[in-house]
Symmetry: C2
Amino acid sequence: MNEKISFLEHVAYQMRRWSIRMTSKAGSGHVSSSLSAADIIAALFFDVMHFDPDQFENPNNDRFILSKGHAVPILYAAWHELGKLTDQEVLSYRSFDSVLEGHPTLRFPYAEAATGSLGIGLSIGVGEALAAKQAKRDYKTFVLMGDSEVSEGSIWEAAQLATYYKLNNIIGIIDCNRLGQSTPTMEALEGDGPERFKKMFDAFGWRSEIVDGHDMQSLVTVLDEARTNADRPVMIIARTKKGYGVALMEDKEGYHGKALKPDQEKVALEQLQERFADAASYSDSYQWKPRLRQGFVGQASETREEVKITMPLPTYKKGEEIPTRKAYGQSLVALGAVCEQVVSLDGEVKNSTYAELFEKAYPDRFYQCFVAEQNMIGMGIGFDRRGFIPFISTFASFFSRAHDQLRMAAIGHASLRLAGSHAGVSIGQDGPSQMGLEDIAMMRGLPESIVLYPCDAVSTYKLVNEMANHHESISYLRTTRMATPIIYDANESFPVGGCKVLKQSKDDKALVLGAGVTLFEALKAHEQLAKEGISIAVIDLYSIKPLDVQTIISVARACKNRIITIEDHYPAGGIGEAVAAAVSTENIEVYQLAVTHLPRSGQTEELLADAGINAEAIIKRVKQF
Amino acid sequence: MNEKISFLEHVAYQMRRWSIRMTSKAGSGHVSSSLSAADIIAALFFDVMHFDPDQFENPNNDRFILSKGHAVPILYAAWHELGKLTDQEVLSYRSFDSVLEGHPTLRFPYAEAATGSLGIGLSIGVGEALAAKQAKRDYKTFVLMGDSEVSEGSIWEAAQLATYYKLNNIIGIIDCNRLGQSTPTMEALEGDGPERFKKMFDAFGWRSEIVDGHDMQSLVTVLDEARTNADRPVMIIARTKKGYGVALMEDKEGYHGKALKPDQEKVALEQLQERFADAASYSDSYQWKPRLRQGFVGQASETREEVKITMPLPTYKKGEEIPTRKAYGQSLVALGAVCEQVVSLDGEVKNSTYAELFEKAYPDRFYQCFVAEQNMIGMGIGFDRRGFIPFISTFASFFSRAHDQLRMAAIGHASLRLAGSHAGVSIGQDGPSQMGLEDIAMMRGLPESIVLYPCDAVSTYKLVNEMANHHESISYLRTTRMATPIIYDANESFPVGGCKVLKQSKDDKALVLGAGVTLFEALKAHEQLAKEGISIAVIDLYSIKPLDVQTIISVARACKNRIITIEDHYPAGGIGEAVAAAVSTENIEVYQLAVTHLPRSGQTEELLADAGINAEAIIKRVKQF
């Protein structure tokens, strides 16, 4: 056995020890899942991967994503062995003041992605691998998965896309330890898991290979070969044992997510030392040093945050009618001209979302993601993490397909820019399956998110510019299918968190808050009521989160403390609830017009009337005062 | 060519004609996608499938799910040919007063499932096929998909599960027309789509077969063989052409979802007649009659709605501490004893959700769904549709993975019973990825849904009984990881839409609305404030949707019109917003305590304090009055 292998086995031994110690100290955590992965991690971090631990964000570093996020003790142990965490820090795992959380989050400075909901890492990896191609860099992306998570469909979405894009720079590894949380994996129950996985990935166009996940020499050889000589995506299927190295739990059910109690911990550490006597008593002096391309000089990470992006003034004319979804596509083209980091991802509806305009202008920055929304969001996380500015579009309703990925993106502070078209019943004949009616609620529910809803092309354009400069969290733009008239001047500004007071007079009976299509219903109601000598104030609530609470309250005060909200969305978590909650201690009445029953196919006007979210509904409500 | 084939080709011709006519009349709709599927549908409905069109709900009928829901004109055309729709009805397609919507919904009496969001039908089919096994019936389930939707991961979740459960009674058909909405499919762009699909499904353990989707004799032979002689799930991969039969659009891009204009319609109908001259002039008298097992006598569909399920009184003792998630498992066992139609589906966390208790009691009614939440919900829809009462459990956070499936389930009026465990920051050390913090918003946003959140074992038990009797829509039970004390008597009742006024006195300074873990924080605050001579009212808001608005308002009136809501959930769409919206015209102040920033790992008490949702936060708030 050569020196390097002895060293790597020693590192794996040390990482196993620390995995046991930190979980026992915390009193919870996934030790058995960490032990199965220890040899793989040792091989990757201390031999195969080309990276500089002193410069984690070095854009030429290979990237590592721990898709099986519960096995995070082994990641912390690796960074401990790399000298970046003290013993004390490692032992703070899972405590409130520590950045070493129960599943990796971006609070840990050496985490590539927040994980913990299974099956997402490979999609993020596909995004990072595409980002490498886009940036013309030759770093490789490694993704470690568990065998349980291969049942998640998102894995197979990623597998198809990686093949389609001929990604020879992504290497997946499945830690096939046979046991899930509560049962053996599906494939293990059916026969030989690794053989089944190999057939499946081969059929999806990957090169896959089965390896003994506890044989260091084999691991190093196979992984290094995958890193160096791939003509397509590679999946390494590692045969491992859960709890490997500790007899009391090795390959046994009932040890998932269970930390060892103090007495068990003692036994486990002894069993470990006995099992790996050589590695435990290792005293050679193999010198590992970071592998990076010879002659490479590290450079600063991408600087997208430092440059404010300014799009030229839009050229729309007032009164012109154009759907905001189309304005989105046009705005993206304008943005692409002034910012090279912008990429567009679309879920096979580019002719509906108008992402096709961007594709036409910048074909090499457009990514067709096909009908696979979960993977599309994961890819977006990867692009974002590698310094790009991804704008991601599909129907508003279909973002619900990737709600969990969005949730994880928010936990990981990814600054995805999302554009959801075909919002609300106003889309008409296609029926409820195509109508985004819960998207505002979903997007508002993402921590620190921004939710925007323009009514015309100018505001769409300006808000796209705002989104481009917003790097702190997810921002969402809700667009409309049908054409709406342009009501704003080209030099109007639309700050996030603002609103536009469009109609206001001395004797307003109520303040109507509209957004998107319903703003025009509000304006229509204003006009019709004016003919009858009744006046109402109207605000364009283009920023739903954050809300301009100050302005809303101050205008409402002058409107007899009455607000009517009107939205093409279900009530739960929508505009009405957001406003009602925001003014709930202000002695202001809030009347909510929203879509309260399941809609159907029909003409836009019929559906707005049926839902009670048209001008007539506002007029009726106002006349009741 | 034999008589039957001539007849089937005639039917296909007629259905193509009607598909063109109805879409042109509506001015929108997916005619090209219908034409590619016409021959498949003719073969299925008029030869292969065993069913009685006069008894759609006959439990022995073969089932058909149109997963590519946009091709619904061909489904309507089939029922027109079956004599169940008049010409006029077919031509009402997509109009407001018609049940023939743009994508199938359950308003159409011959739709098996609401579809229109792609990739869901196969999961529903897996559920129906398992329901057949469970009910010991030999009907078969057919699922027609498009080739675009094969990129959806949910398809591959279903494919894995079908193999695992050795389902020899499900037949998938892919209408491989090569063209998606805006681009050729991924597989078509890479090479021969059908060959690629065959490799993929074979590797997943299916028997798959490629067939010419426009050769009626081949279709009938292959489909009938798949129906009769399968030892495993079968995928029929049909080579078709989009717009087949109409030269102006056949196999051409740019015709997805486009109805033909009147002049085009005329040309198309002529081209069709020319192309299928024999079928168009068919005058033979082949007599099709419904195929059902010889001697079979139809019987009424399942009667679950007609029998009220009554569980025995629970045996819990007041003061005992038990997590509501465990009480859920125990309640399910009690329910299973009095109702045979109950089945339990769990996403590989049965030892966390306690579905394992049900599995232990009734192993043949428990379905391990592994880590594949999207498919699990689809399966649930299938079980529900076939008369079972599915209870589906996973972590509250992971239901977000299946948000789109839940959305579609709601559109299809499926009465899924969902139990989400590990709600909120109170789970502690595992960190934000495992915390359900948006589940209330998501579930409230499903049309007609019911959202329940018990604080103790007794209320959990009673609410499970309520859910069992609720057949109209989705019901959701939110459960807690940690143990909570039992505060209710065994004979207390918990009607959906009610609440429990637990503390109330003459001089209350505010009404606190708690639910789940926060109810105990409210009770703690009540006790501590009482010591200082300050009194507050406390309500257990176990029913979040519907809300008991009457009681809340009347109690709040006696509490100086002040409400404090406290919830282990993000603000958007949560309890605070629901309550603020419900009382928004009542001149009642609502103060909302909720999780306003991204949480982290830590001890429960630390996290409740950090989020400001503990007794101290209530006390502080009350003292500010």
